[in-house]
């Protein structure tokens, strides 16, 4: 599998990725503050959807609880703000989320299918209300973060997280670990029989996919400057992540990027003027993609490319 790394298709993809990153990195020089804000948001969603794909897209264990890692990161940032430096809070948030994923994943990953989906949602809601209760007992409904950094300063770490999530997914499409995760998705019992340590690998992937969302949450709360548990642990975050991954396609590293960009574009276009119409369109798109194009935008794109490239593209396509 590792031999395909340097095929010409991959070089093409690498060039596209490098130039996209370069354009993104330089864009704050020309864009308005609003533009940088939108771009930061795009990077945040790419990082979130990418992390989700690294676990749920690969293993088929659909997590509806990724908002809990996002919220945990935001909570840690809100607690530590102006007491611990940001560069220390970010890794702390990541480690805390990985630890939470391990604690929760140990019992949760024993159940499959619908049980797992609803359990992750239940755990996320449970912890949301625990945080609400803690904050209420401290006599605070929310926490205001003052003197937060400028959006442009927050943009670069967010870009870094989006790149990291994408890099993890690229690596997973061609590593043994990725092959093992996909084997779990196709047939867990068969995977265990041929020697894949399924429990350990599922736990590892779940923990890894929790780290980046926590850091995104920590940076996001610095942007919004207000921590409110009901909002930051909102299940809507989890649902949006899943929708982006599905519309983009969760089988290819480009999927989360396309999905996040598409939905963010749609929301910028419609959200302010006609929020209901935007949401109705989103719902219709989700249904349409699941029924008619289960491999998402990236799958449609890959199919077009493989039609024109015929033999070559088959090499780089995951099973």
């Amino acid at each position: 599998m590792a031999r395909t790394v340097f095929s010409s298709v991959d070089k093409g993809g690498l060039t596209v990725a490098a130039s996209l990153t370069g354009v993104a990195a330089l864009s704050p020089l020309i864009l308005s503050a609003y533009g940088v804000g939108v771009l930061t948001q795009l990077c945040a969603w790419i990082a979130l959807a990418g992390s989700w794909v690294a676990f749920s897209g690969m293993t088929g264990y659909i997590s509806l609880g990724h908002a809990v890692f996002f919220g945990l990161g935001a909570y840690i940032m809100a607690l530590g703000w102006q007491q611990i430096p940001i560069v220390a809070i970010l890794p702390l948030a990541g480690v805390a989320a990985a630890a939470l994923a391990l604690v929760v994943g140990f019992p949760a990953l024993r159940v499959r299918g619908p049980y797992f989906v609803i359990l992750t949602l239940g755990i996320s809601e449970f912890l949301k209300y625990v945080v609400v209760a803690i904050e209420a007992s401290l006599g605070a409904g929310g926490r205001l973060l003052i003197d937060t950094p400028d959006t442009v300063v927050l943009f670069y770490p967010m870009l870094g997280l989006a790149l990291a999530a994408t890099a993890i997914n690229v690596w997973l499409t061609r590593s043994r670990l990725g092959a093992a995760l996909r084997a779990i998705r196709e047939d867990e019992t068969a995977a265990a029989t041929v020697g894949v340590p399924v429990t350990r690998i599922k736990m590892l992937a779940f923990a890894v996919s929790a780290v980046i969302p926590a850091m995104v949450g920590a940076l996001s709360v610095l942007r919004s400057t207000y921590f409110e548990p009901m909002q930051l642990f909102s299940p809507t975050t989890s649902f949006t992540i899943v929708t982006m991954a599905i519309i983009g396609g969760s089988d290819r590293p480009a999927g989360p990027i396309l999905g996040a960009a598409f939905i963010l574009f749609l929301s910028e276009l419609l959200w302010a003027r006609a929020p209901q119409t935007y949401m109705i369109l989103l719902g219709a798109l989700l249904i349409g993609f699941v029924l008619l194009a289960p491999s998402g935008l990236s799958g449609l794109w890959a199919r077009r490319r493989s039609a024109s490239l015929k033999r070559r593209a088959v090499v780089g396509r995951p099973a």
Binding site: G60, V117, L119, I123, F239, I280, A284
Partner: protein, 294 residues
């Protein structure tokens, strides 16, 4: 302590249990027969609530008549959903392997569409009306009449559906489908026809539950989600696809909720509900009465 033993609290718990049972039954039917996860269930309830509300405030119809309208509309939506989205999906084996996940996503799409359509039509304002809210004295116990009506109708409807499933040929066919899908098709059960009936029934039960609840609680377009969650909690407590288990699950959840809140505080309500749910899944992953997955 005297408060804990009061008959009012017992009635409140029973009332909540009966609505939970009704809500969960519809969800469980569709999951059991077709392995489809209807996350739009709560939104169908909200729709039922709006039907009852509009019937009462705009046409002056009694909500007891309005609930038939709610059931009809929901059942119609069920037929539309099934023929538009799921008929092909259930048959297509390539996608059927990930049927549960896909059904969840499709129903999520349906849920978003329903919520926002209702928000466009009925605005985001909370809608409520008062109907039969006089207090009934029964010895030392006093209870609002509409709550008694809700208790009676939901318990009656739950028992009626359970009887339909046990006694009628159609009901037995549905249960056969829940137990052994392939075997049921082999002995000549028309799965396609049963699927439509199950969709109608499941959706109609959600509409009915929503219309009933609108008598005591206000209706908002985005208020369905907590009901969906409660329904899932009940169904998973009882075991997905286990119809009797869902009744037991609804009793358990309602009693924990009502008595737990009385013993602690209303602020801990959600923590109790989700805590119980997580605990049971950790200890018994297949639910209290669920059969072990093979």
């Amino acid at each position: 302590m005297a408060q804990i033993l009061s008959p009012e609290l017992l009635l409140a718990a029973l009332m909540l249990a009966s609505t939970y049972a009704l809500v969960a039954l519809g969800l469980n039917l569709i999951y059991g027969a077709m392995r489809l996860l209807n996350v739009a269930h709560g939104d169908l309830m909200v729709l039922g609530g709006y039907v009852a509300w509009s019937g009462f405030t705009l046409l002056g119809l009694s909500p007891l008549l309005g609930l038939f309208g709610a059931m009809l509309l929901a059942a119609g939506l069920g037929i539309a959903c099934y023929t538009l989205f799921f008929k092909r999906l259930v048959r297509n084996t390539a996608i059927a392997a990930r049927l549960e996940a896909n059904s969840l996503l499709i129903f999520f799409g349906v849920s978003i569409i329903l919520q926002n359509l209702m928000s466009l039509v009925f605005t985001a304002d909370a809608r409520s009306y008062s109907y039969m809210d006089t207090l009934v004295q029964w010895g030392s116990v006093s209870i609002a009449l509409n709550r008694l009506v809700i208790l009676g109708i939901s318990a009656g409807a739950t028992v009626a559906v359970l009887c339909f499933l046990r006694l009628s040929v159609f009901g037995i066919a549905i249960r056969a489908l829940i137990q052994q899908r392939d075997a049921a098709s082999l002995i000549g059960i028309d799965a396609d026809r049963i699927n439509i009936v199950v969709f109608c029934l499941g959706f109609a039960l959600a509409g009915l539950a929503g219309a009933l609840i609108s008598m005591t609680e206000s209706v908002t377009p985005f208020g369905g989600f907590p009901f969906t969650i409660a329904a899932f909690v009940v169904v998973i407590l009882g075991g997905l696809g286990s119809l009797g288990g869902a009744v037991a699950g609804s009793l358990l959840l309602a009693f924990v909720e009502v008595y737990g809140v009385t013993l602690t505080s209303a602020a801990y309500r959600s923590i109790l509900v989700y805590g119980l749910f997580i605990l049971i899944l950790f200890v018994r992953p297949q639910g209290l009465f669920g059969r072990k997955a093979n």
